[in-house]
Amino acid sequence: MATAAQRRIKSVSYAKYGYMFILPFFVVYFIFSFWPLIQTFILAFSENGTRTPALIGFDNFKTILAKPAANDFKAMGIHKSFWDGMKNTLIIWFGNFLPQIALSLLLAVWFTDLRVKMPGKGFFKVVMYMPNIITAASVAGLFLALFGDSSYSVINTLRGCAMTKEQLLAAGLDSAPEPWKIITTCWPSRCLVMFIQVWMWFGNTMIMLMSGIQGINESLFEAAEIDGANSTQTFWRITFPLLKTIMVYTLLTSMIGGLQMFDIPYMLHTGNVVNDYIKTVAVFIYEMFHSNFAKPSFGYSAAASVILFVITSILGALVFYVQRDKDAIEKKKKQKQAAKEWKRKQKGGGFSI
């Protein structure tokens, strides 16, 4: 009866507040992230060596992706350094992901094992996550001081490379041993970067996997224990299959993160030149637009960015595909079907009259 009042209440719409609350986010996002993204796409088709480049078409992609003429040294150099960057990124990512996931998984299983009582669990977790929060620049500096080429680095000091004449005499040596040049040799430097990446990230991956394992129904583990399964069986038959989704998620996000690997490879050197063996794609992009500030190579840098963007988009789409809520999709499908059924019945009913 009181329809007028009801109608009036219903007509109070709060929708405009919704827009007001999300407006700042979108305004700032469009100015500082979306517009730069569009600019990147435009720059990918523009010339190099100037701050105000004009459009030139697909040349940058051609230089980077297809092999340029052998006598075009500049293009050749850029082509090569992009592909070297890709190669290094892939090698370093692979070499850090495999040990990292194995170690994290092992630790996560141990930490969540109900049978093993473990005092001090919190302490271990805190310590293992700690490297992740330390400034990457400082980590690079720290490992340079530990494993650097100089004879004063910790590892070379331990080997006696920095011995004084008197010390050498006392030790009965003619000359100090040659310092190890870990930072400027190919595989040792790559392995060091891999090690640093594992060192920084295994705690993070471990905690993520742990929360995944804790999400598994506990009664499954109890049932397995009552049935006499040992830890290995429990792991391969229960934990691993049920963790698959979160593992794939970890894999894909780690790949996306790996493609962006920048801080450690860029800063792990003394002097001004980044070591070629650990130069990643992200370092290539950065150097192209940043190192020669008066005449930046925006075009090459942007073209490489676009390639990176395409790869990450594919990986990102896969993440969504893996993460999609299967039950919810199923439910929606059923709802739709039910609605169709109902409509058909309505129609059928209409005809029968």
Binding site: M20, W35, P36, F124, T135, L209, T312
Partner: protein, 296 residues
């Protein structure tokens, strides 16, 4: 009949668990050492003088931390770009402002997306999900170009203002609100005559404190550590603008006549604030990582 009696079976089981626990502890202690030794060497060497450091390796701290910091401030090799106080101040400004803006506006955006019904709600959320994965490296070139055009290089504005739009944090806050924010309370506030912004400021924010706290810690640490964006924006590297990571990068790049004590001290100073925050708030932080990881 079975040969094994219950008693011996139980004993075997316990012995097995015992052996396993010891093995696990050995590995854990080893990993702990791997995690801590580099940091410990850093702390120790930050307190030793150059000549001691190059003489031998030690695990016992000395007393020269302030001498090394003095070297940083007086040696012309270092003091042309390194100043501990200035670096701390600048990093604090950048990280602090970013942290405040990110948390406040992400909370506000998430609130808008959860509490209200409007036509573009769905598309807006899908957009935020989609852009969550766009890497900074991809937009960096365009960002640089835009900064040149807008004459915003060497200013803190492009470091601080973009913090308003943090898609991943909006996503996290939205999940948090959906799971543990009672919407009835907003209705109650409306009936009591509170306007929408006041409801958000005085009722919702206090209720979302736990989520705000976790995100604030993470955001602060992340921005304190961020070298990439800072090196793009602060391109001329004026000393009075440099942040801690940028100063450290310049210190570690010194290839000749480096004073190792000063090098270690510089790195030490740059990590002290984050490590302190971490040690005090580690419970929150680890809980936050775990909560971010659960996606079921």
């Amino acid at each position: 009949m079975s040969k094994v009696t219950y008693a011996s079976d139980k004993g075997g089981y316990q012995a097995h668990v015992m052996v396993k626990s010891i093995a696990i502890y050995v590995v854990l202690i080893l990993l702990t050492l791997i995690c801590l030794i580099p940091i410990w060497i850093l702390v120790v060497n930050a307190t030793r003088l150059h000549n001691d450091i190059i003489g031998n390796v030690s695990l016992i701290p000395s007393t020269h931390l302030f001498d090394n910091i003095k070297t940083l401030r007086t040696n012309s090799l270092y003091n042309k770009f390194f100043s501990p106080l200035l670096g701390m101040r600048n990093s604090l400004i950048v990280a602090g402002c970013c942290c405040a803006l990110t948390v406040f506006f992400s909370g506000m955006t998430a609130y808008g997306l959860v509490v209200y019904d409007f036509k573009l709600k769905g598309p807006a959320f899908v957009f935020i999900l989609a852009v969550m994965m766009v890497p900074t490296q991809v937009t960096a070139v365009g960002f640089m170009r835009m900064l040149i055009q807008m004459k915003l290089l060497d200013s803190y504005i492009p470091l601080i203002v973009p913090a308003i739009a943090a898609p991943a944090i909006v996503f996290f806050m939205r999940q948090y609100m959906l799971s543990s924010f009672p919407l009835d309370i907003i209705e109650a506030a409306r009936i009591d005559g509170s306007n929408e912004f006041r409801t958000f400021l005085t009722i919702s924010i206090p209720m979302m404190k736990p989520a705000f706290a976790v995100q604030a810690i993470f955001c602060f640490i992340q921005k304190w550590n961020d070298y990439y964006n800072q090196s793009i924006v602060l391109v001329s590297g004026k000393k009075k603008q440099l942040t801690m990571p940028m100063m450290v990068q310049k210190v570690i790049a010194i290839d000749r006549n480096a004073d190792y004590g000063a090098n270690y001290a510089a790195i030490f100073l740059s990590i002290v604030p984050v490590v302190l925050i971490y040690v005090v708030l580690s419970k929150f932080i680890i809980g936050g990582v775990a909560a971010g990881g659960v996606k079921e």
